[in-house]
Symmetry: D2
Subunit: 263 residues, 4 copies
């Protein structure tokens, strides 16, 4: 029997949506639709990203059918957009196609790093919020930008741990802590997760959720990794709530001679 966590009462609320799962899944990169369906099922994810550019939403036998059968909510992204204008346009097309005003906003700075373009991201976010979108921006780990994205009305902020698909984990936990500490909206780690411990660490920093794509879809066994990262997210969340011991420079015996009753 695996451990169970009391996730029932520890829900995540983004805008008007309430989620039991704190793992968001990206749908790109799977070797087949079956692999996607399998990973999705074990992940427990309730909110998954899709890229409009790859999908014809009306086509049957497509990824949309898979997601529909899984009963998950779609979060269209603007992957592949390199300007604010292009991202805004893509968001609007996705709103039509998927009948949702939620968007994971990406405005990419260059193809090699896929890092976000900060000024263009802020500009696009502001425009989409004004147009009634629920905007979840993929951003770098800049605490100032995160704050400004929140200030223009984003429903969450989604800083990266490291570049998309790099699997390098959380490169700058200092900045990520700062973002978490000062945010008034949910903070979701997006990009960089390579394995379960990365996801656990993000949650232990107080992040509200984790989004994974490549780490699952390109693992040797995507389904097993989906389960691993799901458990990692749950483990990290519980550990955050449990109140960890402080780090100490010197040892402390678990059985000191004084200070509490011997039994």
């Amino acid at each position: 029997m695996a451990a169970t966590s009391d996730t029932n009462t520890d829900v995540l609320t983004i805008a008007d949506k309430t989620l039991s799962s704190r793992l968001l899944l990206g749908t790109g990169g799977f070797r087949s639709l079956d692999a996607l369906a399998g990973a999705l099922a074990v992940s427990g994810s309730e909110l998954v990203t899709v890229a409009l550019r790859r999908i014809d939403p009306g086509q049957h036998g497509s990824i949309v059918d898979v997601l529909d059968r899984a009963g998950v909510q779609l979060l269209p992204n603007t992957a592949g957009c390199f300007t604010a204008r292009d991202a805004v346009l893509t968001a609007k097309m996705a709103r039509e196609a998927f009948e949702t005003n939620w968007v994971k906003l990406e405005v990419i700075g260059d193809e090699r790093t896929l890092l976000p373009d900060a000024p263009a991201l802020l500009e696009a976010a502001e425009e989409l919020v004004d147009d009634g979108f629920v905007v979840l921006p993929y951003t770098n780990d800049d605490p100032i930008l995160a704050r400004r994205l929140e200030d223009v009305g984003c429903a969450a902020v989604m800083p990266l741990g490291s570049p998309i698909g790099s699997g390098m984990g959380l490169l700058n936990t200092y900045n990520l802590r700062l973002i978490r500490e000062r945010a008034g909206v949910p903070v979701i780690l997006d990009a960089g997760v390579g394995t379960a411990s990365d996801a656990a660490l993000a949650m232990e920093l107080g992040f509200d959720a984790v989004l994974c794509a490549t780490a699952v879809s390109r693992a040797e066994e995507p389904e097993t990794m989906a389960r691993a990262i799901r458990l990692g997210v749950e483990a990290g969340r519980l550990a955050y709530r449990a109140g960890r011991i402080p780090r100490r420079l010197y040892a402390q015996a678990s059985t000191p001679d004084e200070g509490f009753p011997e039994y």
Copy 2:
């Protein structure tokens, strides 16, 4: 519903014992026997350490009753021993008291760091193996010493991640990898775990199990942390088996334009 893992078939074998759980729990430092019992139950641990020095095994209403009711196997340790001679003597007394020839061997170098004394540890290990003990030594992260401990017949090696009770996690993953890579017996991370991601990371390095004490017993909510670390161990084990993506210096889109079918 929490995720389930197929731990049924992925068992851990140490000497002649087969365990379903890869989490070992230390019993020291809990605020009460009830706290211990609660953490033990959710941890799923099947093998727990006890310090002879703190316990009168014959006394009722004691920690031994708690462990007995939990149905776990005891692993006596030689905590507090500073010489090979003292550790060997303590191991023999524990064998009598707890009616088991298993021992977690500790020979400590000083009180401040509680780091092991390498030469004395090797000497005690050899003597105890010769005397018929199943010896699981608490060692530092020295790959050469780990190999020598295995060579004298230890049933597992238990390197530290960082000092006992420090909660600093895994300070030298390079050495820990080396130990794992070259060991022919189970390798169990002992000491240094502060939170769930530390446990997950150890398992992702290929460790066979993790032992926690202070991280659970001194957490603000020991029971919640026991569950967190249990899930962390399971997450890390699954991630190890799933085959993680490689770390890359540059980004890789989860939805590249070429290389596999569009759907």
Copy 3:
């Protein structure tokens, strides 16, 4: 006798200025003008920052006299500016006051972290370049922003290692490498240096120069630290040019049995 480095021929060129020293010094935070003068002399720095807000350039017996006597060039900064408009105005006042069109551009996002505000920084940089300034922007470690700053005509980019005055060194060497790799203008590490090894590391990553302020001015012995960091910069520059050995996972004897002549 201390080592000498052939810095004579390894000069740094920013816009139309050629510098022998790769260490820039900030002038704030010293306990006295004498302490500043002493540190400045041993640092070898030829370009030092001054904050207009703290200085009345016409006043005798002031910091300006000290810098004048030291024969260094002034680089006015816009410390304390929180908007593009304020930074631009301050730059223009500094141009009048110090009779230089060079400016170290700072647009700060908040008082607690003193991190730069990316969109406002880019806006101010563009405006100042258009107005004929030689702009050296203090920026975060975002490779995309660094590129955009270069694209609008900045004469150098000055990414941080960690927040101003934090002394935390280089938190994200991955991003710093990316910035270095793609920049066509000099890259100067600004902020975060706490000690000599931080400065050396920045230079080993290929950075063209290092700016220090707090690390020197608030050290217990500023003059000794100025000398230390000067040597650190020189050491790192030489190491960069010397071509370091690769990192290896396994040992390599310096005296292997094969591969080159025994002597």
Copy 4:
């Protein structure tokens, strides 16, 4: 002009020897005797290691001539010895050959990692001290073992930063700090240095000296790297003495509004 450091009065004393330079150089791995001579000259090193096994001390035109001309003191090592007995024997032969009772003691645990064998090292150290040697043991980063080596009479301890020739720098600064903090004899970082900042960091931790071999001999330009590492050692030593600023989680302006006189 390069910076000069007041190394004149900051000497290093090991046993009865007083050294101005805190950089020890290994002589193995150079592409030619000329390369060795060049690197040696710029390094400023006064104490260099030689491996008896590679050298016929009586042969002219050999490495010994080079070292003789350089006026440096020889420190024979026992490289290539895998047992205490072999190391002791080699040390005695070296004493005859080089007419010095100093020895850098190496007892290696395996060929792949070249990590020391702790129990065998301690045994050999004790025996050599009893026989009148001045023993400088190459050890791992184990604080307990370092203390025991000092207790048996070693004149210094030489912990590694990472495996010989790996260039991975200082993997476990926590343990290295512990060793430094508790040692009553000089502590010399031996092995792992890959570049100048590694050497500076070791000195900033309070180490008394640094030994380099591969980092210099196998650099693309050994002479330039020798100069770089020499400056790194000096920089780190000065920084240690200068008293660095503390690390802070938040920014601190170098020009705060309060707390010291405005000028």
